[in-house]
Amino acid sequence: MVFKLSHTTSYKYDSGVTFCHNIATLKPKTIVGQTLLDYKLDISPMPTEISEKIDFFGNVVTRFSIQQHHKELKVTASSIVEIDSSLKPDIYQSVDAQKITLQQAIQELKSIEPNILEVRQFILESILIAKITPEIKEYAGVSFKPNRPIFEAAYELMQRIYTDFEFDPEFTNVATPIHDVMKEKKGVCQDFAQIAIACLRSVGLPGRYISGYIETLPPPGKEKLIGTDASHAWFSLYIPKFGWVDFDPTNNQLPKDQHITVSWGRDYYDVPPLKGVIYSTGKNKMNVSVDIRPAV
């Protein structure tokens, strides 16, 4: 399936901005099962400088600055992405991977093999998922038992978050601490992903935060999925001897042909779609729109 996707973020500044420095993490990845066919980043006004680099986690970030006075900033990322989940390793085809228990996984993760080292960093606390509380550990403990397979447990965790937490865009913003989300059991996709990651890490498993999109238009006869009017987020669990497996707790499903991966990191902090420092005297207003449809 080929998707055409466009993600526009615009800011209107009350009293104008004399100049700004920005970082955008908007370029979809090319990974197994996902190929970026075309990508274009349009910025208005035209940046004075712009450059691309690969960040610590392997994401492509674009840095740009605008050095002229402007009252509006508009950033549009347009991509064409081909998704073919049949190319991805399927956990349901791997009986061994489905059987790996928590105890076994923790043992495997002690190795300093390069690929294990790479994932081990996702066990540690991160900027937004820090000081994991006994409440989170307890919530995780309901699903994760030493002798239970971690895939099964993670699947159950995803289901429980889907059931226990209420999707409420009014309740949280990007700075809401996970502990508040845990307490109120409310939030958006980003919060649910981070709660799940906190749970994985609380039992010693690597959890990764995935930032991306989900298909806007539902297939005929199916319901529209949540998270379609903005960027989406979900989590990934590393299963030793198999690899990373994605889970979408907001929609209670394993991402397959409708999820487009842009970037990953330890949590949202590592991969905000657009951030920046502006020099101005007034307030600003933000507007985001995302549109994804199958390319005809």
Partner: protein
């Protein structure tokens, strides 16, 4: 020498428990200290007390301070230097020096590796979590390449003598180590106050080290420029070691800047100078890692420069030390240091470390949990005392909660053996007392090795049995001597090598923040002086009325009091609602105008604004300036504490402060060069004085009065203007309005006349830089030219003309009001043209994550 006969050593032993620098275990004297102790003994008890006082005084006089955070009385706390130095012999020092060089080199290689290939982790020499779980590991700095010979350019370590008699490493400081400036100032003060104490001891001097320091800064410039633009970045006057930042700035001759003096554009860092943006090549920073770039690091930081990291990646600027070097301030590395050393250098560590167990490893963690109460536990990435747990002092509950914390994030903790370090004699209340000491040493990258400061900064525990040695609480320091058998020359003055000084050569290059502070210093100082003089005139009038209760007298006083409200702009005061009561009993309002710091326009408020802008300029101060400045502050503080607020007491304090303000003003003029920014100070000062002059004349000369009252008012006006004598000399006549207007406003060659002041402002404003943005003629020039034209066209006849009912001089008031507006616009225009900091840095998305 026998210690028993020495009065200085009375009671030295009674509390003697630990290893001591001077006393060996058999109670004999360490020969390295013998000459020093002889010198001290020879000076005698009384001389030592008086010398200690002199040192305290000298530190105070020279403005050596150490700010203590969150302590209202702590700001600008004097730095304490104990009269008894710490001595180490060259022979032992050679080993220490080798050890510091080795450790600096290892840490340099670690820094390069963990932001590069990470082979230490891949080869299992250090566990990944020691680095990745440390909050100082900045992933944003990964794979940055540097052109400098070393990645770690400055290294500082805290050493203390362990039970085996060797110097041990206690802490590594790698982000922005402090203390060099204090160490240098300590040495100067000792040489100045106590030349006798050096008798027969050859102490190694740090001049060569600072030469290397400067050379390192120059060599760090990415483009190998011959004359690189080097700046010192400070968090600002509230930082604890601000004294040192400004000290190094004036000592090395590089501008002291704050984050908002710098800006990133077109892939380079620029300093906002008075004229234009000037490219910066090297930043010696005293700002911690995460505050350096609000774009990629801590988003709530106003201490750094947005976009800086990208300039570093492009190798267009060098930061010393590189951002990210805080990862080396990591007690989690200690257990692995010897293996790291073997891996890189194929040798063992020279300097011993405290036995440490990193809790991220199972075996070690179990040991720590089983033996917790005998250990000292630290977080790997925090070295402040709140994050150090001396477990022997914890109760069971605290121990249990610490255990839980360790179990829940074991990677973040290290436990260390508790060690008793040595004590050294400290001169306290007339005798010597053993106190714990910590020696901070400094290393600077030099070619393929490091240059080590001979000695360093010794800090002393605040109390006898205290385990903590920290400056945060405002501790005591010592001069650190490396004694040698070779003859040394003592440091005599501050100029270490003039040929290396790269001075700011031009007013154009003045950092615009500095310019702004100079301008406001001038304005506040001008306002303070005029206000003080006017207050004094009013008080004198009040006091003479107590003897002479004439009717005209109290009319005169009423006018003076009302003008006081006008010129200080402290309405309603003696003018508006409720003024009748105040006029009957004016002392209370006058006290408020003098003392109320929170009242806009009060003398106290003006002085405190002046202190703030002036303190930000301390790298430009001369010692004399500090002395007088400090004198004013002390006088004022003492006065505030007094409760004698009689008219005569108030007059007396004003007299004394006015004299000092004037002394201070003339010191500024002779201590700061015009191209260093004195021009801005002059413009501020003259503008303020002209404004106050106009305001005084409007409130005292516009209304028409009967002859006697008019006389009294004119007399007071001239007195407050310090112009009565000049008037008598120039006019030799009875006071009249015409002559007073001539003298105060129109005289073109009298420096206190408005005409003269305006012309002077015009001349100075014309010398300010012109750039593309300002054009050939700046708005400031247009405004001041207009004011000058206006005053030249004034006609005395027209100014004197009364309105129809004969009550006031409307023309005079109109002219003065126009001039007042022009001056006000001028001040705004100067701010807009030259100091534009009005555009605040903000985050596009406000998320404020703790980093």
């Amino acid at each position: 020498m026998t210690t028993h006969s020495n009065i200085l050593f009375q009671n030295y032993f009674s509390d003697f428990k630990n290893y001591d620098e001077v006393l060996k275990s058999n109670m004999s004297i360490n020969p390295n200290w013998e000459t020093l102790l002889n010198n001290l003994t020879e000076m005698g008890h009384d001389a030592l007390i008086s010398k200690q006082k002199e040192i305290d005084w000298l530190m105070d006089e020279n403005g050596v301070t150490y700010n203590v955070y969150n302590d209202p009385k702590g700001l600008h706390r004097p730095w304490n230097l104990n009269i008894v130095p710490f001595v180490i012999h060259q022979k032992e020092w050679e080993t220490v020096e080798k050890g510091i060089k080795q450790r600096a080199e290892i840490l340099n290689l670690v820094l390069k590796d963990i932001y590069g290939k990470r082979e230490l982790i891949k080869k299992g020499i250090i566990p990944q979590e020691v680095i990745f779980a440390h909050r100082g590991f900045l992933r944003q700095c990964d794979q940055i390449q540097y052109k400098t010979a070393k990645n770690l350019l400055i290294y500082s370590s805290d050493l203390a003598r362990g039970p085996d008699g060797r110097m041990w490493v206690v802490n590594d400081r790698t982000q922005a180590p402090s203390g060099m400036g204090y160490a240098l100032e300590n040495r100067y003060s000792m040489s100045k106050a106590l030349p006798g104490i050096f008798k027969d001891i050859n102490v190694k001097q740090p001049s060569g080290f600072f030469y290397d320091f400067n050379q390192m800064l120059i060599d760090s410039a990415p483009q190998n420029k011959e004359n690189p633009n080097i700046v010192i970045l400070t968090p600002g006057p509230h930082n604890e070691t601000y004294f040192e930042h400004s000290y190094l700035s004036s000592f090395l001759g590089y501008p002291l800047v704050t984050g908002d003096d710098l800006v990133v554009r077109s892939g380079k860092v620029w300093m906002k100078s008075l004229k234009e943006l000037k490219q910066v090549d090297v930043i010696l920073r005293r700002v911690d890692d995460v505050f350096m770039d609000p774009l990629e690091l801590r988003e709530d930081s106003y201490l750094g420069v947005a976009g800086l990291l990208d300039v570093i990646r492009r190798q267009n600027v060098s930061i010393i030390n590189p951002i990210g070097s805080g990862i080396l301030e990591n007690s989690g590395l200690i257990p692995f240091m010897n293996n790291i050393c073997k891996y890189f250098l194929k040798e063992n560590l020279i300097l011993p470390q405290i036995a440490s167990w990193w809790c991220g490893q199972e075996k070690e963690r179990n040991y720590v949990l089983d033996n917790l109460s005998n250990l000292v536990v630290k977080r790997i990435d925090r070295s402040n005392r709140e994050s150090i747990f001396f477990c022997e002092f914890l109760d069971n509950k605290a121990l249990e909660s610490l255990k839980k914390e360790i179990i829940s994030s074991p990677y973040g903790f290290v436990a260390q053996e508790k060690i008793s370090f040595s004590t050294a004699p400290d001169f306290v209340d007339g005798t010597l007392e053993p106190r714990k000491v910590m020696c901070r040493t400094f290393a600077i990258a030099k070619h393929d090795s490091y240059s080590i400061m001979p000695g360093g900064l010794v800090r002393v525990a605040a109390e006898r049995e205290n385990l903590f040695v920290s400056n945060q609480r405002g501790g005591v320091s010592k001069d650190f001597w490396v004694s040698t058998d070779e003859k040394q020359t003592n440091i005599q003055n501050y100029a270490w090598d003039n040929s290396f000084k790269i001075r700011i050569s031009d007013i154009n290059d003045l950092p615009s923040n500095t310019a702004q502070n100079l301008f406001w210093s001038g304005r506040y100082l001008g306002r303070a002086l005029v206000t003080a003089r006017f207050l004094r005139t009013v008080l004198n009038r009040m006091s003479s009325e107590q003897y002479n209760e004439g009717i005209t007298g109290s009319e005169n006083l009423k006018f003076l009091l009302q003008s006081l409200t006008h010129i200080t702009y402290t309405f309603p005061g003696f003018v508006g609602k409720g003024s009748d009561a105040l006029l009957k009993n004016p002392l209370k309002e006058i006290l408020s105008l003098m003392l109320d710091q929170d009242r806009m326009g009060s003398f106290a408020q003006t002085m405190s604004s002046f202190n703030n802008s002036y303190y930000s300029l301390r790298n430009l101060w001369s010692k004399d300036m500090w002395r007088v400045f400090d004198g004013i502050q002390k006088l004022w503080l003492k006065f505030e504490d007094d409760d004698n607020y009689s008219i005569s007491a108030l007059t007396k304090i004003l007299d004394r402060i006015i004299t000092r303000i004037i002394a201070f003003m003339s010191l500024i003029e002779e201590s700061i060069l015009v191209q260093q920014g004195l021009l801005l100070y002059f413009i501020g000062l003259q503008t303020e004085q002209a404004m106050m002059n106009v305001s005084k004349c409007r409130s005292l000369l516009v209304f028409n009065h009967n002859e006697q009252l008019q006389y009294d008012i004119l007399e007071s006006l001239l007195t407050s203007h310090e112009s009565l004598n000049i008037y008598r000399y120039s006019y030799r006549s009875y006071l009249n309005v015409e002559n007073v207007i001539q003298l105060i406003l129109l005289q073109s060659d009298y420096p206190k006349s408005l005409t003269y002041q305006l012309r002077r402002i015009q001349k100075d404003v014309e010398r300010l830089p012109h750039s593309k943005a300002t054009g050939n003629i700046t708005e400031c020039e247009t405004l001041i030219a207009e004011a000058n034209l206006k005053i030249q066209q004034l006609n005395i006849k027209s100014l004197l003309q009364l309105n129809n009912d004969g009550s006031l001089r409307q023309n005079l008031d109109n002219c003065l009001s126009e001039l007042s507006d022009l001056l006000h616009d001028l001040s705004l225009s100067i701010s807009d043209t030259y100091f534009n900091h009005s555009h605040q840095q903000t985050q596009l998305v406000n998320q404020n994550f703790p980093l």
